[in-house]
């Protein structure tokens, strides 16, 4: 079954790649198209929101901020407050978190050679959730809550890897088992925290935060976290070619001179780091790491060289779109994790419907 499945998928991918290459040959390079798409999406995201701002005021504001044209001082201050202080951190957080989750999801799927794997595989999200919930219950400052989320996310993965090591080898199967153990442990620890949390104060904060929230971030924090996150996403993008070599199998990759162990470790470590940081910024946001790589694969083919950077950009755009809905769909703010999951299900079903013929023929 797996033979015919992979053959089918491969044929489709070859066809799709050929189509894409035809399109790409006719137009500007794909990197440029995707990059421009992301910039456009960011500008759109900056222009929409509940505070009444006319569309024309956005360019006026930016022109005035570089000394061209003028806006009345009070209006300028109001615009700066809304656009720079309120919308910009959200937009940047969406871009960082979306790209980090999507590219680490794609990286995990490549390393584990399994399309159903997501960044939470090794327990990083459960660990980070536990860390943040612990911070909220202890009543420490928000920065410390975020730091705890990050540390516990890494801690959970280290624990999972240690469990895998107990079984003597570091095959991907034992790693997955280690991740399952670690995920289960930290989920139950999170349940303990939720159970003991003050139901009047701490518990609603934990529950709300676990549903994902981009509104907590401010510019200083984004600036600091952008360094490791952008670095990690770029590194994963660069490693795409090596992941293509790994996809052929360890022995074949080794024979090509690819240091399989080092690459696998680097990819897992980087993907873990950036996905742990996403929880620090925005809480739990599901589905992106699973579905965005699939959507990109469907559109651009399975080559990791192209998939890794494209998934990052698509992930950013997906989360910008989801955040737009979260901000504007109802009078109240809808937690973004709910939006990504509701939005992700039809997309995932669409992807499945495009590939399930291969699954049924064997």
């Amino acid at each position: 079954m797996s033979c015919s499945l992979s053959a089918e998928i491969e044929m489709k991918q070859v066809r799709r790649r050929a189509l894409w290459q035809m399109i790409a040959a006719a137009g500007p390079p794909w990197e440029l198209v995707l990059g421009a798409g992301l910039v456009l999406a960011m500008i759109l995201a900056l222009s929409v929101g509940k505070y009444p701002i006319a569309v024309a005021e956005i360019p006026q504001f930016f022109l005035a901020s570089v000394g061209l044209g003028s806006v009345a001082a009070d209006r300028y201050a109001a615009l700066a407050n809304v656009i720079i202080d309120i919308r910009l951190p959200r937009v940047l957080a969406a871009v960082l978190v979306g790209s980090a989750l999507a590219s680490s999801g794609a990286a995990f799927q490549a390393v584990f050679r399994n399309p159903l794997v997501s960044p939470g595989l090794l327990g990083v999200l459960s660990g980070a959730s536990f860390g943040a919930a612990l911070g909220i219950v202890l009543g420490v400052s928000w920065y410390f809550v975020q730091a705890l989320a990050f540390v516990m996310g890494l801690g959970a993965v280290v624990f999972g890897v240690a469990v895998a090591r107990l079984f003597g080898n570091s095959s991907t199967l034992t790693l997955v088992l280690g991740g399952i153990v670690s995920g289960a442990l930290f989920s139950s620890l999170l349940s303990i925290i939720k159970y003991v949390a003050d139901p009047m104060n701490a518990l609603p904060n934990i529950v709300y935060w676990l549903m994902g929230n981009l509104a907590q971030s401010n510019l200083t924090q984004i600036a600091w976290l952008a360094i490791p996150m952008v670095g990690g996403v770029v590194l994963l993008g660069v490693l795409g070619r090596a992941l293509d070599a790994l996809a052929m199998g360890d022995d074949e990759a080794r024979s090509l001179g690819v240091p399989v162990g080092v690459i696998r470790f680097a990819v897992i470590a980087t993907a873990t780091l950036v996905s742990s940081l996403t929880v620090s910024i925005a809480g739990m946001i599901g589905w992106i790491g699973l579905i965005v790589p699939h959507v990109v694969r469907l559109a651009l083919g399975a080559s990791n060289t192209r998939l890794m950077p494209s998934a990052a950009i698509f992930g950013a755009m997906f989360l910008l779109g989801a955040d737009y809905l979260a901000r504007t769909m109802a009078n109240t703010e809808i937690p973004i994790g709910i939006v990504t999951e509701l939005l992700g299900i039809p997309i995932f079903l669409l992807v499945l419907s495009r590939t399930n013929r291969g699954w049924n023929e064997h």
Binding site: K50, Y51, N81, D85, N201, N205, A215, N218, R327, A330
Partner: protein, 333 residues
């Protein structure tokens, strides 16, 4: 010595056939209660009421969390050493039985009546009382007065609340404009309550208007999450926060800086001892909370000596004699 005697006395009481009587509680149920109550367990929202009318009969705290040490100095004397029996569905039924309670209090809201089944298993009668709105409290105090055979005390507490409410109503009616107040309930300040919800009634009592453009029929009206842009568009004149940390954030975060309330320095932290003056738990302290807020909203109209009023209120309800330092501590959380 007293502590040692307690279980012995409780044991003796179990041996004595207590005379019982049938009553109709505030939800209309028929309940058989002991004629003389010896030890009472009051679930979370009922707890402040029993603390005021019968602190000597309270068997223990009824909170899912350990009670805060800061609240103890503002409670009736002798309560600080009480155990925490847990609140509602979290309470351990065997622990409750061992504490020797002979009556328990819940409240009339339909969804909150489920712990009864548990308590019925240890044969403790549960009496439901009204706790949702401040206007119900005089009635509840009179009802409890009869139940505990402390009619005079119940009347005193009810009358105090009636007087305060009447004074507030008069002032609110005279107010030409009613400032729009935003209640920043969550730590991040972005979860609130719609107009008309039980949990935000202090605003109306104090002669203000809820700044939110939603009412009690809205989906999630008592857990209303809004974003900063909506808040900027609403631009409330006064912000009241539940937590001191929230007020500190609001005053320093540039995202909040453009709000009128922040610019004119009208961001206030609700006092919270011994029970929160605004909400959670809902209690009669909302009357004092409304007086506190009225002095902020209508300083020219609602002219009282707030510190003296705080001292009087605490003395009437909790029997405490607060020092100036304690009053200051309450008023500047």
């Amino acid at each position: 010595m007293k502590i040692l005697l307690r279980p012995v006395l409780a044991g003796l009481l179990l041996l004595v056939p207590a005379s019982a009587r049938d009553i109709v509680d505030m939800s209309g149920r028929h309940v058989t209660v002991p004629d003389t109550v010896h030890r009472a367990y009051a679930m979370t929202h009922a707890f402040p009421l029993i603390t005021a009318i019968a602190p000597d009969l309270v068997a223990g705290f009824a909170s899912p969390m350990p009670p805060k040490p800061e609240m103890m100095e503002f409670l009736p004397s002798g309560m600080a050493g009480l155990p925490n029996l847990g609140g509602g569905s979290d309470a351990n039924i065997e622990k409750l039985k061992a504490s020797g309670i002979d009556i328990a209090f819940g409240w009339t809201s339909k969804g909150e009546q489920y712990p009864v089944k548990n308590l019925e298993r240890i044969a403790v009668p549960v009496v439901f009382i009204d706790v949702d709105r401040l206007a119900q409290y005089p009635g509840t105090f009179r009802f409890l007065g009869k139940l505990f055979h402390r009619e005079a005390r119940g009347e005193e507490l009810a009358k105090t609340l009636d007087d305060i409410t009447a004074r507030l109503k008069k002032s609110a009616a005279a107010a030409k404009d009613k400032p729009r107040v935003y209640y920043a309930e969550s730590i991040d300040g972005l979860t609130s309550q719609c107009e008309g919800t039980d949990r935000s009634e202090v605003i109306a009592l104090a002669g203000g208007r809820n700044a939110l453009p939603c009412n009690a029929t809205a989906l999630s009206a008592d857990h209303y999450v809004i974003d900063l842009e909506t808040l900027l568009a609403i631009d409330p004149e006064v912000i009241v926060t539940r937590f001191a940390a929230t007020a500190a954030t609001i005053k320093s975060d540039p995202r909040w800086a453009r709000l009128r309330a922040v610019k004119i320095g009208k961001v206030f932290v609700v006092p919270s001892y011994p029970f929160n003056w605004f909400d959670r738990p809902p209690s009669f302290l909302r009357a004092l909370g409304a007086e506190w807020l009225a002095t902020k909203l209508h300083p020219g109209l609602y002219r009282i000596d707030l510190k003296a009023e705080v001292r009087r209120f605490h003395h009437v309800f909790f029997g405490t004699n607060l020092t100036d330092a304690q009053v200051d501590k309450l008023l500047s959380p």
